[in-house]
Amino acid sequence: MKKTILLASIFLFSLTGFAQEAEDLVGVWEPGHGKAKVKIDKIDDKFYGKIVWLKEPNDPDTGEPKVDKNNPDKSMRDVPLRGYRILKDFEYKGKGVWEEGTIYDPEKGETYDCIITMKDENTLDIRGYIGVKTFGRSDTWRRLKMKKK
């Protein structure tokens, strides 16, 4: 009986640890180009990231807030980029890796398969790729925090 309780406890602890690790992804991050900030949230068991800040929020051609003008779906081209969900459907696979998700590049209007790897607690390696990971491009994102006032 004691052995069963011990095994069950170890199992529960490892599950809790796994879930805690998974949530390390939640937060506000800055992509390598520094032109945006992306907030990653957990919704149900998956992770999603949306643009929450743009260095240049308005389109220089129109003076209006930037919209997703390169989206292949014409009905989406008026959707504001701020608030736009560019990371979708990531699942935690353990060892600091989130997979099964996609990343959207608003500059090209393209969606890529994506894998996120946590390099350290404040750094992410984001790799967008086509089909196999070889055909892709990586970027480094850094964690942001609220300034102390």
Partner: protein
């Protein structure tokens, strides 16, 4: 009945899930608060120049194309052996006696290019690729010259060059590695190294490894903005047929409305670009193509006999997205003969003649300049 309950249960579950997701999405967001976010780890972050600029034609990971030249006439000189016999054609001799002439009814073949990212990080990119170019000839020799077999200095019988091209064709396989080193957000250095095996070999019997030819280029560049970068450098190249050292100029620019641009890596290529939209574009400009092709039959006494094929190709190229990351390309242009002369290389070691050297040629050949076409399918980069 059980099935009905199950259906209700699943519907309710999905509805609640959907409602929860929507509710989370619709939360009022105070966007201004994100102005006050700063780096958690404020170690100065190093940013790097991206390896491209906006609006450029998509980079090709894998490309398969077919190239075809329209019929043209050729004239080949006698085959001489400056190393084996000590007699060749003077470097300024432009119109030697014609030993062979005829029409190349077809010149062309399959081209397969790969350029695979091995390492692709913002701080360093290494791409590597194997490329294959098959050039087949269908030759109709002029009757005046009859059969062009002749005796080599070592006493062996050899076929005329027209017959060799007709029966064997020319092949090139190369391995190219490109390294992109951004130093900061603006400056970058590109190194490219290439090793080529070119000749009339068959795919089941390669030629000696001492006929491998090496090219390299180094460019220092500045990515001034998302729309413009320039660079200067030097290269050791076979694009004019002979081995040569030439300066390199990079000039990639895109207009602010992303319609117009240039893609220049002179002297290898230079294009003006017009983007119809983000899925199709037109390039107008030229390519410079060339290799030094080992002709096995003429390579005697340990020397390598090589056709120095160099051609300028003014062209128009249309590229369009077919689906996903598969693009089609169609080129039409003019194949202008820069060089089809030949050298006998002492011990297979190449030499530098450049534009001013006076080493004698083994053959001096001329080709008329036909139109050419190229159609291809490309698997392109994200």
């Amino acid at each position: 009945m059980k099935q009905t309950y199950l259906t209700y249960f699943l519907s309710a579950f999905l509805f609640i899930g959907f409602f929860t997701l929507q509710a989370q999405e619709d939360e009022e967001e105070d966007w201004d608060m994100y102005d006050d976010f700063e780096l958690e780890d404020d170690t100065p972050v190093k940013r790097y120049a991206a390896p491209t600029v906006s609006g450029m034609s998509p980079q090709r990971f894998i490309s398969v194309s077919f190239d075809a030249q329209m019929p043209y006439n050729y004239e080949f000189s006698e085959v001489r052996f400056p190393q084996s016999n000590g007699t060749g054609f003077d470097v300024d001799e432009s119109n030697p006696g014609v030993r062979e002439s005829g029409t190349a009814d077809f010149t062309g073949g399959l081209r397969i290019n790969t350029n695979i990212p091995i390492i692709s990080k913002s701080s360093f990119v290494w791409q590597s690729g194997i490329n294959f170019m098959d050039t087949r000839y269908s030759i109709s020799p002029d009757a005046d010259f009859g059969e062009n077999r002749f005796t080599l200095p070592n006493g062996n019988e050899a076929r005329g060059l027209g017959q060799i091209l007709n029966e064997d064709g020319l092949r090139n396989i190369n391995w190219t590695n490109t390294f992109f080193f951004p130093m900061n957000e603006t400056e970058f250095i590109v190194f490219q190294g290439q090793v080529d095996m070119s000749g009339n070999y068959a795919l089941d019997s390669f030629q000696p490894l001492n006929t491998l030819r090496y090219s390299a280029a180094a460019v220092y560049g500045r990515r001034v903005s998302d729309y413009f970068r320039w660079g200067i450098g030097v290269s050791r190249t076979y694009r004019v047929g002979n081995m040569n050292y030439v300066p390199v100029i990079m000039y990639d620019w895109t207009s602010k409305n992303r319609k117009w641009g240039t893609e220049i890596l002179f002297p290898a290529r230079a294009y003006v670009r017009y983007n119809f939209n983000k899925n199709s574009l037109l390039l107008a400009g030229f390519d410079l193509e060339g290799q030094s092709y080992h002709i096995d039959e003429y390579s005697i006494n340990g020397n390598s006999y090589e056709i120095r094929r160099g051609e300028v190709r003014p062209k128009i190229e249309f590229q369009t997205k077919l689906t996903g990351y598969v693009w089609a390309s169609i080129q039409a242009g003019y194949r202008w003969d820069w060089s089809y002369d030949a050298d006998e290389l002492d011990g297979s070691n190449d030499f530098f003649r450049g534009f001013f050297g006076n080493q004698e040629f083994g053959m001096i050949n001329s080709l008329e300049n036909p139109f050419y076409f190229n159609v291809g399918l490309n698997f392109v980069s994200p």
